[in-house]
Symmetry: C2
Subunit: 117 residues, 2 copies
DNA sequence: AGCATTATTGAATGATTGCTCAACTAATAC
DNA sequence: GTATTAGTTGAGCAATCATTCAATAATGCT
């Protein structure tokens, strides 16, 4: 997991490297950011997110819509929940999921935009 | 890779499922979208992209900045190149990389936004 | 030509990940 | 209580992926 810097070459433009280095965030921030985008990096999960953009849905409905098992869907929803991308409410035995906030749609839209250029 | 629909439950709200299904894109589009976001889903690659947001850089400089081998950086740049997220120009032996367009920064920014809420 | 420097590539490997399966919890109905 | 339905969870496995290593291009210099 933790890997120490191993570089096999010398710097060529040290002024540029130094000035860029000043603008960079902490490494942990990039890892967090990557963890967020990783959730958008799976076909099943983006389908779930795009579906929830249309309407709140329960686990069974999502499973039927995507042709997956409840288990598979639930596993993915848990990951999305832990990253605050979706929220849920329980009604009797049924758990309804929906998007947590507008960022999800905005990120998906930016992605679609890039594909359609 | 290709998996056929296997669902272990019945639909609960068929009207919702049907209306959402109409709004959904082709499955391949979601896989493409996921492939795009997958590239943002690695700490090293988001560091590279954020660095290139500050300045055009050559492979060696990126390697020094991030403490990686040229090879590791080059492999990641290739992936980013294939997805049109970065472009490059050659000058003598040196290859300079830069962001392909503004979408990259916009997507990164949306991600940062979500983390800081 | 030969050599140095910058970068790319392919194979191999260890780590991560998505799904399945089985067991389990939560809520309702009888 | 038992049964049923909806959902969650953990282990296990196959597939994917990021890095390393070694070999190879590509350019410039003498």
């Amino acid at each position: 997991m933790e890997k120490q810097p191993v570089c096999d070459c010398d710097v060529i433009h040290s002024e540029i490297v130094n000035s860029v280095r000043e603008q960079m965030c902490e490494k942990d921030e990039y890892i967090e950011l990557a963890s967020l985008f990783k959730l958008f990096g799976d076909g099943t999960r983006v389908q779930i997110l795009h579906a929830l953009e249309q309407s709140e849905m329960c686990v069974c409905d999502i499973a039927v819509l995507l042709g997956l098992t409840k288990s598979a869907v639930s596993h993915q929803l848990k990951a999305l929940r832990l990253a605050n991308l979706v929220k849920f409410r329980r009604e009797a035995q049924t758990v309804y999921y929906s998007l947590a906030d507008s960022h999800v749609k905005e990120i998906l839209d930016k992605g679609f935009e890039h594909l359609r250029e």
